[in-house]
């Protein structure tokens, strides 16, 4: 056992961080800067990060889910408005079904509540030209329809248009893609928490009231300390889930990812709400970046299910089924 990053993994993390630092949005107004968005997208394309799960000659992914998690966390830390989760899951679906992408940029479609693979909502679809949907157990290539209202200001969702070609999707592939999706959204949540916490911590050092930085007050310090602890616990459980994707049996890996997702989803909402609270009134304005983090966390939580459905998966793994569920 050695749960440290290799030097290559550290280098990957640093290179993602550099791209986000250079081309990410630093203010809400910059989210509308089409030239910046295009440059960021071009940098992500050039990096090859979206191809980490494409198949090599033996059908294995080029990189493990740990590398995927590293990229997802760093992109989310800077609330990068470039697609990653969607294209990564699309690549995994192509790999698991042994099929070739028919469009240049694919993402995936989920059910209307986003809890499972489906054919209702194309997520993380910025720049996508095609979408992989699941209908009646078959994998379907579809077009994108109209853009849906934005929850997450950094990753748009679209309706799913007409379908074209269908291939069979084995049950184990559904388990594996779900596991990867849970792990990568956990990583996105960890990055979102860290980025939000950094924003709020900096603000608490700068903002003065009663003649002192608000970060000197215990009430504020304790909220931020709790947010830090939740972020660290989430990171530990996320790293295990990411490792498990390629290392454990499909059932064990799914259980690990489900537990991690429940923990990260609950933590992320608490942390991002703290980020807004520490900002006070300004945190409730559109122009403050705080809500960009919270909104991103809401989408990542819901992709393949947040707390409730994943706690049910954990119980099911321990042989405790229920007809009425947890909710």
């Amino acid at each position: 056992m050695d749960v440290r990053f290799s030097s290559e993994q550290v280098a990957l993390r640093d290179s993602v961080a550099q791209v986000v630092e250079r081309l990410g949005a630093k203010a809400v107004g910059q989210l509308d800067d089409a030239e910046r968005v295009a440059k960021l997208d071009a940098a992500v394309i050039a990096s090859g990060w979206r191809e980490l799960r494409t198949a090599d000659d033996a059908g294995a992914p080029w990189a493990s889910a740990v590398e995927v998690a590293i990229v997802a966390e760093e992109l989310a830390k800077g609330v990068a408005d470039a697609a990653f989760v969607g294209p990564t899951l699309a690549a995994e679906l192509r790999r698991l079904t042994g099929t070739e992408p028919s469009s240049a940029a694919e993402t995936v479609a989920l059910t209307a509540d986003l809890e499972a693979l489906g054919s209702s909502v194309a997520v993380d679809a910025a720049g996508a030209t095609g979408v992989l949907a699941v209908c009646d157990g078959a994998l379907v290539e579809a077009t994108l329809g109209a853009q849906l209202p934005e929850t997450d200001l950094t990753r748009p969702s679209f309706e799913v248009g007409a379908d074209v070609v269908a291939v069979e999707l084995p049950a184990e592939a559904v388990t594996r893609i779900t596991t990867l999706g849970l792990a990568v959204t956990c990583a996105d949540l960890v990055g979102t928490m860290q980025g939000g916490l950094d924003l709020a911590t900096d603000y608490a050092k700068d903002r003065h009231q009663y003649g002192a930085a608000i970060g000197s007050f215990q009430a504020v310090q304790h909220m931020l300390a709790d947010a830090h602890v939740l972020t660290e616990g989430s990171r530990s459980v996320m790293l295990h889930a990411a490792w498990a994707v390629d290392a454990l049996s499909p059932e064990e890996a799914l259980a690990a990812a489900a537990g991690a997702k429940a923990y990260c989803a609950r933590s992320a909402r608490a942390v991002c709400e703290t980020v807004i609270q520490v900002h006070g009134g300004i945190g409730n304005t559109w122009e403050c970046m705080a809500h960009v983090f919270l909104r991103r966390a809401l989408l990542s939580s819901d992709i393949l299910g947040g707390v409730g459905p994943n706690l049910e998966k954990v119980l099911a793994h321990h042989g405790i089924g229920s007809s009425d569920g947890l909710r």
Partner: protein
């Protein structure tokens, strides 16, 4: 990055699993039953003598000299077998290893590690809790000895201890953090009075207070230099906050395993809220296990003594609270009589956010030292 066993680790796990199957003493839980302490020393010695205790500590003091991650395997296997957790002494060992000279280490560590000599920790006082540095216990030099006067409290296991690591003021003319020294004080002497304290769950063996009224300790039993008591205390408490040093992951997993079996036997007897509490206890206990794996991996290049223990302490506390709530919700408080083990387990979980430094103090430390927030 790899959470899996190496071939060496897998072989160790197999050997350990076989040994535990034959040597599980089936003790009651430490937190709920005084009978635990009657058998705990024998369990400690048995674990040690079989080569399964002090895994990451130096061979010279009775440890196994293995990488720190072996403790994760130990905790997992003890919990899986339903065996008692490993004795949680790592923080004392780390304190003595880091601050004690060669003589101190040679005289005291082997007995501490092999479980033949029992220790307790005399830090807190009635008027020095979170503000530990304001402690008033004094040690006055008298020839080759120091004479100790003072009152210590929350002194776990003081009833059974042979030695107490006592923080006492040896210099009254310097700022409060600078005048404290640490001693290994023999407990069996006329100047030591031990008084057990009954905890809210009814157990009496764990908590205690100790009055030192002219107790004597050889000057050669000072751990560290004169005035090094505060840094030593900080080393000790930083590790006292780490689940990796305490073996608590094993304790929580054992409880969660039992609760899971109970619900699995008759799921329809439990409502959605009870199942949800159980699910959280599973999720958080797993989280803590992976967190400890991460922390102990960070030690593969050598141990550090940092504020990170405060993060671990809060994660451990929240996990114990969640397991305690699951115990209460799933197993019940026993209002109609019968087994009150789970009620006791829940009540004991209230102590976790206080022992080893309150959660409030951990938050202060994280805010200042990790997040860099201003004073």
């Amino acid at each position: 990055m790899d959470f899996a066993d190496s071939p060496e680790e897998a072989a160790f796990r197999e050997r350990l699993r076989a040994w535990v199957a034959d040597n599980n003493p089936d003790l009651p839980a430490s937190s709920t039953d005084d009978a635990y302490w009657a058998g705990q020393a024998a369990w400690h010695q048995s674990l040690h003598d079989a080569g399964f205790f002090g895994l990451s500590w130096p061979v010279e003091v009775g440890g196994q000299g293995l990488p720190s991650v072996y403790d994760v395997i130990l905790d997992e296997e003890l919990a899986a077998a339903g065996a008692p957790p490993r004795p949680g002494l790592g923080y004392l060992v780390q304190g003595i290893l880091h601050h004690g000279n060669a003589d101190i280490q040679a005289r005291f560590l082997p007995g501490l590690v092999n479980g033949r000599v029992r220790w307790c920790q005399g830090f807190s006082e009635p008027d020095a809790g979170s503000d530990l540095a304001s402690l008033r216990t004094r040690a006055d030099r008298d020839g080759d000895e120091y004479v100790i006067h003072g009152h210590k409290v929350w002194t776990s296991y003081s009833d059974d201890a042979d030695l107490c690591i006592v923080l006492a003021r040896t210099d009254h003319d310097v700022p409060k953090h600078k005048g404290i020294s640490a001693f290994a004080v023999p407990m069996d002497q006329p100047g030591v009075q031990r008084m057990p304290l009954k905890m809210i769950n009814g157990i009496t063996k764990e908590f205690g207070e100790v009055v030192f009224d002219g107790a004597r300790v050889p000057a050669a039993n000072m751990i560290g230099e004169p005035g090094e008591g505060w840094p030593l205390a900080m080393t000790v408490v930083s590790h006292e906050r780490e689940p990796g040093e305490l073996g608590y992951v094993g304790r929580y997993r054992k409880a969660v395993k039992e609760l899971t079996s109970q619900v699995k036997a008759d799921p329809d007897a439990y409502d959605a809220e009870q199942r949800r509490e159980l699910a959280w206890s599973i999720v958080e206990t797993d989280m803590l296990r992976h967190h400890v794996s991460r922390r102990l991996s960070e030690r593969l290049d050598g141990i550090t003594h940092t504020t990170e223990g405060s993060v671990d302490k809060l994660l451990m506390t929240w996990t114990e609270n969640t397991v305690g709530h699951a115990a209460l919700d799933v197993a019940g408080a026993g209002h109609a009589g019968g087994d009150d083990t789970w009620l006791k387990m829940y009540l004991y979980s209230r102590a976790q956010s206080v022992m080893g430094g309150t959660s409030q103090i951990q938050r202060n430390l994280i805010a200042r030292r990790i997040l860099g927030l201003p004073a």
